[in-house]
């Protein structure tokens, strides 16, 4: 049995720890601290309030996580829409590559990571960003290639063009998605975990 002061201090520590974890999106840990605080005799009103906050934040977090995929896709889509104002050749290749494979995926991935919060595991953030930005890049590439090839004509080699176009779209999507995934997983919450 701890002395009352020490117990009170420990209880306060648990409450504060739960609140801190809640702020950082670590809901499981927050619940653990709250549970401990409750066992140590914390006031029921405080426990309930914190418990409700954790639940609300967790639900909100889950919703944000769901929407962040679309958000990343949207940011990527807008970025690639901007890029589509000029062809890679007109942008100059290094600039286009920098924008298409680095800048836009990085921005989208970072935004997604921040939006998802620390509650999501880095692995989950990586895959989420990879798919969202990858699809945006895939659409951008596929639409651009279709449009260009439509103007050029297929010259009776539609199958070969389709294979080449699909391959390139997939490859570009993979690269852009990977960049977005890495940024989302490693940089969005770097230093907080």
């Amino acid at each position: 049995m701890r002395p009352p002061d020490e117990q009170h201090a420990a209880l306060e520590f648990e409450i504060l720890a739960a609140e801190r974890e809640l702020v950082h999106g670590q809901f499981a840990r927050a619940r653990d601290h709250l549970k401990t605080a409750s066992a140590m005799g914390a006031r029921k009103m405080d426990v309930n309030r914190l418990h409700a906050s954790i639940n609300a934040e967790e639900q909100s977090h889950a919703k944000r996580a769901r929407l962040s995929g679309w958000g990343g896709f949207g940011i990527g889509g807008l970025g690639y829409l901007f890029l589509s104002l000029q062809q890679p050749v007109a942008w100059t290749m290094p600039l286009w590559c920098g924008l298409a494979f680095l800048a836009i995926p990085a921005i989208a991935g970072y935004a997604m990571g921040r939006w998802q919060g620390q509650g999501q595991s880095p692995q989950s953030r990586f895959w989420s960003a990879l798919f969202s930005v990858g699809w945006a890049m895939c659409f951008y590439t596929a639409i651009s290639l279709m449009s260009l090839r439509w103007q050029i004509g297929l010259a009776g080699q539609g199958g070969a063009v389709l294979v080449a176009g699909t391959f390139v779209s997939a490859a570009y999507a993979l690269v852009a998605g990977t960049v977005a995934g890495v940024v989302s997983a490693k940089l969005a919450w770097h230093g907080h975990e």
Binding site: R66, L81, L85, L148, A155, A164
Partner: protein, 843 residues
């Protein structure tokens, strides 16, 4: 069978059998003349006629007024209809049943046919079948039996169904007739009352053992006057598009073993193969259904049942069906019933598509009105009374609904919005910056189509510009080229592989990438600074050694750019003009040295420059597109041969751009003080730029410093007396002859083509006038209702629109006629002059 006569206040009436319109006295003549007269006209003889069905006596009336008809047998299984024909309809069928030539048989035609003997004309005027038994008289077997009862030149006319509302049934019927060994010819007739019922354009079908051609319909000569049908225009309804006629391949033959016509009529979207008859009922092949599902579900064939089943009018209270979706106007998207309706075959006439639709909507509405979540929660509240397994499943369902339903809805909603936003943004981006991936590009030069536009577009209008070789007044004056269709047409696109595979390895290519046979020209450097044995131009220089140059680019039918950058304009098989360094020289292909210099007409140079530069721009544009493409995929050239070929093509295009650039510089321009040729005067014919056939059949050639004249034997200039003439070089005579002969051929073709055009325009004009009269007649007979619907081509538009459009067509037709007449007259005069020259001095 139910008979219903719909009396109207205007004195007209209509007969309905089992809800199907049989005729309306307002336009019944269209139907019955359409059914009977073509067959009677086309039959070798029409002494014996058999009418199957047609108890109303209206088809009988048409037969009896046709000369040469000696006996008509009418077989109808309905005594009621025949009685109506004798009594109520006697006024409109003109007492046809009282005629002594008529024998009426109240019997089933199927049973009776074999007992009646042979016929010259058989008219099948049956009602549209509503149950499989009725379809016996539309089977292959039935038509085989009819074929057997036909005299050698006999013909059958069949009341078919609508190819518009029930295309599968229509083509099934045609296929069945053909399967019986008969040739079939279908033709549409627009019957307003049928159309008003939603039956669409109606069709009749002629069938005979002998071949039936469209021309037979065109040449119909009918000895009796028609009341409503225009037989001269009947053939216009006999053409079907390839897409329409392709349906025939997919539909089955209606036979006794496979009575598919009724299901096809009741289910117009149904295809062959998906439905099979088994155990006395129709079944569907699910695998085929699965593959056809999406196509059918989007076909949206509205009112498909209308030709068979009476569709209640909108004013009919019974047509109002309860639509549950209206209870949730904003929250519910409309449910697509088409797949469901296609999955429920209509197999009975009273089992209407409307009924199925209403029933399905009731069910869907009931399901939609359920709140599944509340239902599950309510059930779980009574969990104690439910089996444990069921409770467990319900809990899973509740969790599923909680976890998935909202996100799915959000996904669906957001994806629509996102897609719409993307489309709008791309459209805006396109508008702001056309040079992006989604644009067609702003470089719609359209120049290359010149080279093709000439050969086709100028065939009949030589005086307007023509090709380089034979362009006469105005041709090189700048106006015709500058306003030729090439610049206004679509941008040329490389659609062939000439720049990939054959460029610089053999024949020349054009801007479309088409390869041509290799062509070489051997000449001494070009220009007129060359010495010729027959004459020496002022400032002449020693001739250079002959060089062989390959044609690299076909800029026009007659114009080629050589690998040296020089331009050759082919005048005939043996003669050409070489344009280079601001000079023009006439060459005979047999000799590398120029025959004589030709005046450097500024119009010629301007047009060649325009041609070369515009095609160069087109090539550059295509090259830029390919470069953009390679910007994306170029790094995969080791993986994909097509990308490697694209790279090669870009290199070749760039090379061509450089060559055209060199050509544009090498061609040069006419001297600053050069003046264009004056227009040709009467009696003159322009053979090529600067070369004229004069009224006395001599040839005048405009040279840099004088006019040179020749009669084929001697040459002289305008600066010297004809008496001082010198012998004409044989190469020049030969070249002129070949040019004249080529022109003769072209002008002969032009005159023939113009004549043909004039004939067609005249025929069109007559038809348009007839159409106009007919539309005006309809307008009057409809009580001056300007919005009365009529057929206009394949459209149905208001009669006032039809009249105004027809009037506009007539006006345009007259303008075209005048222009073609002018072109024809000019070509004819020129041809006469050339013929005269070829039969005289230039024989």
């Amino acid at each position: 069978m139910t008979l219903h006569i719909d009396e109207r206040t205007d004195g007209n009436f209509a007969l309905f059998i089992d809800g199907d319109l049989q005729f309306d006295t307002a336009d019944e003549a269209l139907y019955h003349e359409g059914l009977t007269l073509p067959a009677l006209c086309m039959a070798g003889s029409c002494a014996r006629v058999l009418i199957c069905g047609g108890g109303d006596g209206l088809a009988l009336r048409e037969c009896l007024r046709f000369p040469g008809v000696e006996r008509v047998d009418l077989v109808d299984y309905s005594p009621e209809v025949v009685e109506l024909g004798r009594t109520r309809f006697a006024g409109i069928n003109r007492g046809a049943f009282e005629d002594h030539r008529v024998a009426v048989h109240i019997a089933d035609a199927w049973e009776q046919l074999d007992t009646l003997g042979n016929f010259d004309v058989v008219l099948c005027d049956f009602t549209v079948p509503r149950k499989p038994d009725d379809a016996r008289v539309f089977t292959r077997e039935w038509y085989s039996r009819i074929s057997a009862s036909l005299n050698p030149n006999g013909i059958v006319a069949v009341n078919a169904v609508s190819p518009q509302a029930t295309p599968e049934a229509f083509w099934c019927l045609r296929k069945s007739i053909r399967a019986a060994g008969l040739n079939a010819l279908a033709y549409r007739v627009c019957i307003p009352s049928f159309r008003a019922q939603g039956y669409g354009a109606w069709t009749f079908m002629l069938a005979a053992r002998r071949p039936l051609r469209l021309a037979d319909l065109k040449q119909l000569e009918c000895p009796v006057e028609t009341r409503q049908l225009d037989l001269a225009r009947l053939y216009r309804g006999a053409s079907f598009t390839r897409a329409e006629s392709s349906i025939e391949r997919h539909v089955p033959v209606n036979s006794l073993e496979n009575l598919c016509l009724v299901p096809l009529l009741l289910n117009p979207a149904m295809d062959d193969g998906r439905w099979t008859m088994g155990g006395g009922r129709w079944t569907i092949d699910d695998r085929r259904w699965a593959t056809d599902y999406s196509r059918n579900s989007t076909s949206g064939r509205a009112g498909s049942l209308s030709s068979i089943v009476h569709r209640p009018s909108s004013a009919d209270p019974s047509s109002t069906v309860f639509r549950p979706s209206s209870a949730h106007p904003s929250s519910e998207s409309p449910f697509d019933l088409a797949p469901l309706l296609n999955a429920i075959p209509v197999t009975h006439p009273y089992h209407t598509r409307e009924m199925v639709e209403a029933m399905a909507e009731q069910v869907i509405g009931a399901i939609r009105s359920l709140d599944i979540k509340r239902l599950v929660n309510a059930l779980l509240r009574r969990a104690g009374e439910l089996p444990k397994d069921l409770v467990r499943e319900l809990r899973k369902l509740r969790d599923f609904l909680r976890d998935h339903t909202p996100s799915f809805d959000a996904w669906r909603e957001w994806s629509y919005r996102l897609f719409a936003a993307l489309v709008i943004t791309m459209t805006l981006a396109n508008t702001i910056a056309p040079d992006n991936a989604f644009a067609k590009g702003a470089h719609g030069l359209g120049h290359a189509s010149m080279s093709r536009g000439y050969s086709g577009g100028f065939g009949g209008g030589r005086g307007e510009g023509g090709s380089f070789s034979s362009a006469r007044s105005g041709g090189f004056g700048g106006t015709s080229f500058s306003r030729s269709g090439g610049f206004g047409g679509p941008a040329p696109r490389i659609t062939s592989s000439g720049f990939r595979s054959r460029y610089s390895r053999g024949g020349p290519v054009d801007v479309y990438g088409y390869s041509y046979a290799p062509r070489y020209y051997i000449y001494c450097g070009g220009g007129y600074y060359h010495v010729h044995p027959a004459y020496q131009v002022s400032g002449g220089q020693p001739a250079a050694r002959p060089e062989k140059h390959q044609a690299l680019f076909v800029a026009d039918d007659d114009m080629m750019v050589l690998d040296s950058g020089d331009v050759v304009i082919t005048l005939s098989d043996g003669a050409y003009l070489l344009v280079t360094g601001g000079t023009v020289a006439l060459f005979n292909e047999k000799n590398p040295e120029p025959i004589l210099p030709v005046y450097p007409d500024p119009g010629l140079f301007r047009n060649i420059q325009d041609q070369v530069q515009s095609q160069q721009a087109a090539v550059q544009h295509d090259s830029a597109l390919r470069r953009d493409w390679l910007g994306w995929v170029g790094w995969t050239s080791a993986l994909f041969p097509i990308v490697a070929e694209d790279k090669r093509e870009v290199r070749n295009l760039d090379d061509m751009t450089r060559k055209l650039d060199a050509a544009a510089r090498r061609i040069g321009s006419a001297p600053a003080n050069a003046v264009p040729a004056s227009p040709v005067t009467a009696g003159q014919v322009e053979l090529f730029v600067g070369g004229y056939l004069l009224s006395d059949d001599t040839i005048g050639i405009r040279q840099p410093d004088s006019w040179l004249y020749t009669d084929g034997r001697s040459i002289w200039t305008d600066k010297e007396e004809k008496s001082k003439s010198r012998p004409c070089p044989p190469l020049l005579t030969e070249a002129v002859q070949s040019i004249l002969k080529k022109l003769q051929k072209e002008l002969t073709a032009d005159v023939a083509s113009d004549k043909n055009d004039l004939r067609e325009l005249y025929t069109d004009n007559l038809q348009l006038q007839q159409d106009l009269v007919q539309y005006q007649g309809i307008y009057m007979s409809s009580g001056y209702q300007s919005d009365y619907e009529v057929d206009y081509g394949t459209d149905s538009i208001s009669v006032s629109q039809a009249i105004s459009r027809t009037q506009a067509d007539i006006q345009q037709n007259q303008i075209d006629y005048q222009q073609t007449q002018l072109s024809h007259d000019k070509a004819h005069i020129d041809l006469d002059r050339i013929n005269s020259a070829l039969h005289g001095l230039w024989r």
